[in-house]
Point group: C2
Chain length 348, copies 2
Amino acid sequence: MPKTTPPDADNSAQQRRLQMADIARLAGVSTSTVSRALAGSKLVSEETRVRIMELARSLKYTINIGAQNLRMKQNRTVGVVIPYDSATRQHLSDPFFLSMLGSLADALTELGFDMLVSRVDAEELDAAAAPFDTGRVIGIILIGQWRHHEQLNQLAARHVPIVVWGAQLPQQLYCTVGGDNVTGGELAAAHLIAQGRKHIAFFGDINLPEVGQRYEGQCRALRKAGMKVDPALQVSVSFLPEGGREAVQELLRRGVPFDAVFAGSDLMAMTSINTLRQHGYEVPGQVAVVGYDDIELAGYFHPPLTTVQQPIREAGRALVSQLLELVDGRPAASLQIPTQLIVRNSSV
Amino acid sequence: MPKTTPPDADNSAQQRRLQMADIARLAGVSTSTVSRALAGSKLVSEETRVRIMELARSLKYTINIGAQNLRMKQNRTVGVVIPYDSATRQHLSDPFFLSMLGSLADALTELGFDMLVSRVDAEELDAAAAPFDTGRVIGIILIGQWRHHEQLNQLAARHVPIVVWGAQLPQQLYCTVGGDNVTGGELAAAHLIAQGRKHIAFFGDINLPEVGQRYEGQCRALRKAGMKVDPALQVSVSFLPEGGREAVQELLRRGVPFDAVFAGSDLMAMTSINTLRQHGYEVPGQVAVVGYDDIELAGYFHPPLTTVQQPIREAGRALVSQLLELVDGRPAASLQIPTQLIVRNSSV
DNA sequence: ATGAAAGCGCTAACAC
DNA sequence: GTGTTAGCGCTTTCAT
């Protein structure tokens, strides 16, 4: 572990960081006055206030937020946690999660909050609360509900202010914000059905709440169209990019006929398309494909990907606003963000 | 601006956060003993240490890091800043930058550091130092050098510990970590030349240091092959995804013949390929295309993208290790991470 | 309008 | 081994 000596350690020329007492001395006033001046209090005369502010600015002095926070018992930092899968030791790479991070950064910056990012082992989700427990952040936004409903409930029961990006589940103590997965799945499947597709495969781990709901949506669309649900067309594969390839191979192995694929994520849709092509299938000619997420690159893929859009900008804002509710001690309802189908060429 | 009342505000049932004094009282010892016990000091008897630790754990007490930092004048948080373009008000979306964020998160987590992410207006780069000036972070990693060489120099002159992802420039006071852009460009162009391409277009804003160096590499490869550099084949376009489309259109407008494109980023390569196709060009048949970055999706594109790989995992680690050098008061040399050409189908 | 003094939650001499 | 005390850099009564 690197040492990172404290700034005041005697490594030569490290000039000591300026502090309020210095400004006070230089201005010939007390620290109280400096504090007030910098805070824009009207208790200090216009003249000295200006003088002190100028001085501070010319010396590039800024208040030490740590000390200020301690004294004022406040904090404008929000924790964002992205669990990683300890088994695969998978690192942060899903473009959708990454975009969410960007969107959260934007939403928080806009409101004057800082964002503390940490990664935790998905199996030790309790650790997600650490930045809160240690007082560094006022609450936690967790991206990736995965299968950890129970652990999340426990965190909420402990009164950790936490908002989770994911699906709304029965008996849920924590607040979630997520896309409307059932409708999303239904839209996707209905679209494929409208294109005349008869055998629609589903790729994705339906044990994950969000994916499960997307599949449920597909089933609903099938039933509405008077078609029956064939379990042989449902292939459970992980969220990793290779998922698409594996799913196609498994489906071919099963030997069930299919003319469409609804994939649990765009990444999976893309690898599915590539694998289908390698096996000589034309997309969308022989197999129509629909993805999920509408990541930045979906439209640039060949063929451009039909997909269900998760409105990431609003998602970020919603996550933040619900968290701030919780932080202020108000209850925060779980939210569903409406999704829409983006029809491109991979399915028509 | 939302209020975010301090935790001790009187909104009903917010139970006060446990603190060391509480543990001390419950254990019947002084706070010093608790402090020592929790720090694992050998000054406290085995027995009381265990007792106190158990107590703390059962009560889910954790030390308030803010107070600890203040007292110990230490900090294990690193700032990561991603400037945004104020003109286009462009938000964080380039997959490469996003991946870099992920890689940094991993590298920092591994070393036990936290990551504070902020976004600043690229025109006000001075603001990038704010998290440092206010004592929240021990140093800054800035992703995106853009055109702000001068402002970065000023930050370094102010002794802000800062490491920048970007190109190494003459008269540079700050530390950079970046790919070897010249070699990268040379590899890409040499590859295209080896494929028998005669008229290689370059897409990208060569005023950006990194892109300029990639172009320089291309020129070098051309000269080595005894070919001449045709300025009409260089098209300056922004880093935005649409850049690729605009570049192709501009090139066609110019009417110069071309049989290859070297694009400044993968995103641009992808949109270029799509636009070329729309105009009836076959890739790689009539036009070979090479990108830059090797983003996650490059291999899944159709055709799979030949590209220059920026090793993002090492990049993250290198950025962090150089920053920690600076923080410890040691000089940190700028680093170039070797790049390699990944040959896929878009160019062969 | 300004200053003195107390204290935010913690650690580290220094006593015993 | 453990407690007492001072103080990290700031804000805020309470005096003046």
